[in-house]
Symmetry: C2
C-alpha cells in the first residue's frame, strides 16, 4: 500500500451525505462494537501489568472506551436502532483483529493500546469531517474523550532507550498492528455495502479512501517516532 | 451479630471529626482500592455472561467503578497523598473478599454485582453523614454515580420465579456475600487504627458501629426481597 499525499481539497469536503443514510447506523454500530471489544481486550491485557499503577492506567483507558460506547449507543437509540443486534454484525472483524494481535508482553500491550487509541482517534477525526453536522457531532463527542493513552509514552521510551532489541521488536509489532487494522477495515468495507456507499458519497469516493489509508500510515509513523520506535 | 434498631439520634450526627483526620486519607485509599478491585472482578465475572447484552451491562458497571475511583484519586492527590502506595495497604482485604466470593454461575455473578453495588452505596451514605462537609462532598460525588446495577433485578427475578432450587441457592449465596463483606470490613478495622479512630470520633463510637452493621443487614434484607430471594 503506497501513501498518497493529501490534496488541497481533502478534509474540507462539504458533505453530500444525509443524516438518514443507512450507512450512518452501520458506522455507529461498528464503532460501538469496537469500543466494547477494546474494553474487554484492555482489561485482559492489563493482566500483564507489572504493578498496580499499570493496571489502574489500563482500567482508566478501558472505562473511557465504555464512555465512548455510551455516546454511540444513545445516538443509535435516538435513531431507532436496536443496538445490540446491530453491533453483533461487526463482532467477527473486531474479534479477529484482537485475536491476531494478542500481545505477549506488557510492552507489546502498551504499544497496542497506544496505537489502537491513536488509530481510533484518526479514524473518528477523518469521518467527522466528511459527515453531516448532526452525525459529526456524535463522532466528535466520542473523539473528545480519547487521548487517555499518554501514560504509555514514557514507559515505552524508557524500555527502547535501554534496549535496541526491544526497539526492533516493538517497531515490527507496531507495523503488524497497523497492517492488521487496515486488513480488517478492508474486510468490513467489502462485507457492508452501506458503509462503502457512505464513504463513496461523502465527497471524493475512492480517491478519498486511498488518501485516508495514506494519512493513517503517515500519522502512524509520527506516533512511532513519539514512542522512540522510528 | 444482632441488629440493633437505629436510635433517634443516628444519622444526624454533627461531626466532631476534622477534615485533616489521618483516617480520612485511609478511608479514601480503602475505597479507591475497592473501586479498582471491583472493576477487575466485574470484567472477569462478565466472562460468564450468556450474551453480548450481559457483557455490555457488566462493562458499564465496571466503567462506573473507575469513575468513582477517579473522584477518590483526585481528592487524595489534593490532600497530598501518594495514591498508589496508600491504596496497596488495603489490597489483601479486598482481594480476599473477591477470592472468597468467586461466583460459579452467571446468576451468582449478577447477584454479587447487585449486592456489592448496594453495600457500597449503603457504606458511602453512612460515612457521608458522619464526616465533615468537605470530605462528605467527595463521598456523595461517588455515591451519586452508583445504581448502575438495576439491570440485574429483572434477570434474577425471572430465574428464581422459574426455579425454587435457584431461589434457595441464590439466597444462600447472597447471605454468604454479606457475611464475607462484614468479616473483611472487621479485619480492615482491626488492622488500621486511624480508621477505627475516625469512626469512634465521628459521633457515638462503638454504638454507631454496631448500629451501622445492623442497618447494613436490614437494607441487605430489603434488597433480597427486590431480587425475589427473601
Amino acid at each position: 500500500m503506497t501513501s498518497t499525499p493529501p490534496t488541497a481539497s481533502s478534509g474540507q469536503v462539504t458533505s453530500g451525505v444525509s443524516a438518514d443514510h443507512p450507512g450512518v447506523n452501520e458506522l455507529f454500530a461498528l464503532l460501538a462494537y469496537g469500543e466494547v471489544a477494546a474494553f474487554y481486550r484492555l482489561t485482559d491485557e492489563a493482566r500483564m501489568a507489572p504493578n498496580l499503577r499499570g493496571r489502574i492506567n489500563m482500567a482508566s483507558m478501558a472505562a473511557a472506551e465504555m464512555n465512548h460506547y455510551e455516546v454511540l449507543r444513545d445516538s443509535l437509540e435516538r435513531r431507532g436502532v436496536d443496538v445490540v443486534p446491530a453491533m453483533t454484525k461487526y463482532a467477527s472483524a473486531l474479534e479477529n483483529y484482537h485475536r491476531l494481535t494478542t500481545p505477549s508482553t506488557w510492552l507489546e500491550a502498551l504499544v497496542k493500546t497506544y496505537v489502537g487509541d491513536a488509530l481510533a482517534a484518526d479514524f473518528y477525526l477523518e469521518i467527522a469531517t466528511s459527515l453531516p453536522d448532526e452525525v459529526a457531532d456524535v463522532v466528535r463527542a466520542v473523539l473528545s474523550e480519547t487521548g487517555h493513552s499518554q501514560f504509555v509514552v514514557a514507559e515505552v521510551q524508557a524500555a527502547v532507550t535501554a534496549s535496541e532489541k526491544q526497539r526492533h521488536r516493538l517497531a515490527l509489532w507496531s507495523r503488524r498492528l497497523l497492517g492488521e487494522a487496515i486488513t480488517q477495515a478492508q474486510y468490513v468495507m467489502a462485507d457492508h455495502d452501506e458503509l462503502v456507499d457512505l464513504v463513496m458519497s461523502s465527497g471524493e469516493g475512492l480517491t478519498q479512501i486511498t488518501e485516508f489509508f495514506g494519512r493513517l500510515q503517515q500519522t502512524h509513523a509520527s506516533r512511532m517516532q513519539e514512542l522512540g520506535l522510528a
